[in-house]
Symmetry: C2
């Protein structure tokens, strides 16, 4: 058995702002330089991907992606910053949480697990 944690950022109205799904979207846009290709790779519609990004941008108050003619779509500096911070957050939380899990469930496992 192991711990599977999910980390989401919410605004003060407890609305979803950013999590693993949008992290993956931004990662792919950065990698592929295209929202269309990112959507295809995720098996999502362009519209679905775009609406998620727009909602997060709206809730954050700044743009995450920018599209320039001939250069495709790139992350804005704020988008890059969010991607990096979330990645660090997730890694560090996972390490901390796994240690907690081991302390509680590792030494004295529930019988049968």
């Amino acid at each position: 058995m192991h711990l599977k944690s999910t980390y989401r950022l919410e605004n003060d109205q407890n609305e979803h702002v950013f999590g693993p799904g949008r992290f993956r979207i931004l990662e792919l846009i950065r990698e592929l330089g295209s929202m269309n290709k990112a959507a295809q790779q995720l098996g999502m519609s362009y519209r679905g991907l775009w609406s998620r990004i727009r909602l997060t941008e709206k809730r954050l108050g700044f743009p995450l992606v920018m599209t320039e003619s001939g250069r495709g779509t790139q992350l804005t500096p704020e988008g890059e910053d969010l991607l990096k911070k979330y990645s660090v957050l997730r890694s560090r939380c996972q390490a901390a949480d796994d240690a907690v899990y081991q302390e509680i469930f590792g030494d004295h496992p529930i019988p049968g697990i």
Copy 2:
């Protein structure tokens, strides 16, 4: 903005074993002494609640609840143990994760948040 984490226990096949939903189910069964009342309070069908418990029991390999004639439904000692351990896990992980969040997002917030 704040961090909203979810903690789930999975088996070695990455199948769901226990998380916030089943935690709440066990809490209510303990409180109400009845799976029917717990299901009502959660707006779930008895069948839906029961199938979730059974699946978790199957994946753990031991029973979480026991029903005795005239005494309603109670948690087994293993069910109590799981409830308690998960509760401690969640509290401690939340504290650790919130500290990580503050370090990363607290001092240098993303503009606009």
